[in-house]
Amino acid sequence: MSNKRFIQSLFRVMKREVDSLVHAPIYWFSMIVFPLFVIFFFSELMNEGLPTDMPVGVVDLDNSTTSRKLLRNYDAFQQSHIVAHYSDVNQARRAMQKCEIYAFMYIPQNMERDLLASRQPKISFYYNNSVLLAGSLIYKEMRAISTLGAASVGSAKLQAKGLTQRQIKSVLQPIATDVHAIDNPMLNYNIALSTTIIPACLALFVLLVTAYSLGIELKKNRAKTWMTMAENKVMIALAGKFIPQTVIFTLVVWFYQYWLFVHLDFPHNCNFLLIMIVGLTLVVAAQCFAIFVFSLLPTLRMSMSICALWGVLSFSISGFTYPVTSMSPSLQILSNLFPMRHYYMIYQMNILHGYSLHYSWMYIVALLMFMMLPLFMLSRLKKIFYKYVYLP
């Protein structure tokens, strides 16, 4: 076939695909409307970065100047907000079970008196670990306030003993720690989650739409005309069909990257061209993976089900939240079968931390391998398009 005919038939198929994309509202929704919704949803949901003013309760049996001062200082902390005082622990616990509060601080009777008499009183905090994020953030603040409280009492006493400020500091906390959270110093959850959950959602759309648009050809009995248009060349048929989709999805991904890394100024330590290339790679790898799945299970419902399973599992098995290194070894191996896992590794190594590409070559190769998958399936796909009859 001459080059000219090749290009002509490619364009014919592309035009056909563009027509069908434009005229089916479901494509508009699942390629543009829903993806944009997801982008805005997550970046807006966590725009505070860290939850602030989470409701906590207090059981203050001491009710002294010291305890009230302690609570006042605590209320000024950013993430906790005292919403209720309870007269006993049982009441506070019930409020916690109803999720009215995430934690409560218990101050025992006679705390002030015991403090002055050097009897080392003990305050307790109870926090809800079933809502893990709230629980652990409030725990951190409660611990900070009791350390500070202890320090202010301690320093008064040590001053009376004649120690200098510097000595007091070294007695109260001989070893201080100084923590550097590399590239996300504010522990911003938006930076940690939006950069991973949003692309995983976009990849899910790519997987589903690819499988759907292949399956619908068979379902509507249009596969044969499609192949004739492509001069019976599967490569042309696939390229013509998917290039328009690649363009649309890539533009959506680029918009997402613009929105996060430029508009919201999320940390990135590489130039924007690399970010864009990684985005394009994710789209194409996901498309090719879906084509591969379809060629193995050439029915609309089976290929879409597998793609859905893959896309939804990606959220967990890629290790955005619970790291892959802490999963069981067989799952660590399994995680390599998910394109999103490799995208995530490239994102955190090259984009977030800005390491050079030779540290992440394995993940780049893996994504390229996903792109090659359909090549092994060309003859099988041809058979499918010619012989397969849709059974509802």
Partner: protein, 381 residues
């Protein structure tokens, strides 16, 4: 009604697409998910130590760090740059830097500072390393200050170093496990999503097969829409009740997640939750022109729905509009009711709000389904 029920039952079991969502996914997915998170916590995070002090005190600190369950000293390096190489190669997740003045500072009663650098690719690495380092430095610090003060009695020394003590009591999930926190919410969400997908597929199929792309056939008409909907609901409810019991009762037991609720409490949540979800799905199915559309429309909502349920992200930090959206879906109340009763040991009295909301949703979506399923032409006739 019985006829509708039997017809629907026959239809479900002859449609492999619906069976996938009614049987296969609910069986496999919760198990797979639980397996993912079954290790619960992040232990032995590999860490590089840069010890510029090289003193007996710094070695003591390293020994204590290595003894904690969450931190593992994977390598020693001479400087930060070399230590960073380990992080770039993903062999380590953090660096502990002990300055050269460490021992001298402590001996001459000056406060010294140990630095920690954490790779932020996962918040859980940060949490593990920070907790280990804070606990070890506070512990070792109080030993040091006791030795420093030369007081009369040991007790006096202890009190001078920390006049106010505290204890922290993590409730309901004492180990801080990731699975125990996330899985209960995911389980309810699986029920919610697979029910909607299965019902959406079934009604999409009906629409494709019936003449004129109608949800309901003419010959079923004499039964009345209410009876058609109730018949179908009964069928879905019976098939799915078994799966829901497996998901909410067997899975937590198999994977050793917290389970405080008893059988009847779970039933009291499941009944309104499933009814609300089924009616919601039936009302939604008017949107499905093709059976596969339901997958394109519903699957991606899983993660947003999980987030606005208030479990991964505290509900107090959800904006008003997000909260309003979350009230539309039965999943929000189902997840909260289940987590409160099952993980936090609340009684049914404590979740009256959620149960009431689910029953209201069931009623509203039943009426909506009635309205949606009523073919236009009948009203004209």
């Amino acid at each position: 009604m019985i006829k509708i029920f039997l017809n629907e039952l026959r239809r479900i079991f002859s449609d492999s697409g619906v069976l996938i969502f009614f049987i296969v996914v609910p069986l496999l997915y919760p198990a797979l998910y639980s397996w993912l998170y079954n290790n619960e916590v992040v232990r032995e995070v590999p860490t590089v130590v840069v010890d510029d002090s090289k003193s007996s005190l710094s070695r003591e600190l390293i020994r204590r760090l290595n003894a904690t369950p969450d931190l593992n000293v994977a390598a020693y390096e001479e400087n930060i740059d070399e230590a960073r190489q380990h992080i770039m190669r993903q062999e380590a997740r953090g660096i502990v830097y002990i300055p050269s003045s460490f021992a001298a500072d402590i001996h001459s009663h000056r406060q010294t500072t140990v630095s920690l650098y954490v790779d932020m690719s996962s918040m859980l690495y940060y949490k593990s390393l920070l907790t280990s380092l804070t606990n070890v430095t506070l512990d070792m610090g109080s030993d040091i200050s006791v030795a420093m003060l030369n007081s009369q009695t040991a007790r006096e020394e202890q009190i001078a170093a920390s006049p106010l003590s505290y204890e922290a009591v993590p409730m309901f999930n004492p180990g801080g496990g990731y699975g125990c926190f996330l899985i209960p919410a995911v389980l309810m969400l699986v029920i919610h999503q697979t029910l909607i997908l299965g019902i959406g597929l079934a009604s999409g199929t009906a629409r494709e097969k019936n003449s004129g792309r109608k949800l309901v056939l003419r010959e079923d008409a004499p039964f009345g829409i209410a009876r058609i909907i109730l018949g179908k609901t009964l069928c879905y409810f019976m098939v799915y009740f078994v799966m829901a019991c497996y998901i909410t009762m067997a899975i937590p037991r198999i994977f050793n997640f917290i389970q405080l609720a008893d059988f009847w409490q779970i039933i009291a949540i499941l009944v309104p939750f499933m009814l609300a979800t089924i009616f919601f799905a039936l009302a939604l199915s008017c949107l499905m022109q093709q059976r596969e559309h339901v997958m394109l429309i519903i699957i991606f909502t899983s993660v947003p729905l999980l987030f606005i349920s208030g479990i991964p992200w505290p509900v107090s930090s959800l904006g008003a509009s997000f909260k309003a959206i979350s009230y539309i879906f039965p999943s929000t109340f189902g997840i909260n009711a289940f987590v409160k009763v099952n993980s936090m040991g609340a009684s049914l009295g404590d979740i009256v709000f959620e149960l009431r909301a689910l029953w209201i949703q069931a009623a509203v979506y039943f009426l909506l389904a009635l309205y949606v399923w009523k073919p236009k032409r009948w009203t004209q006739e």
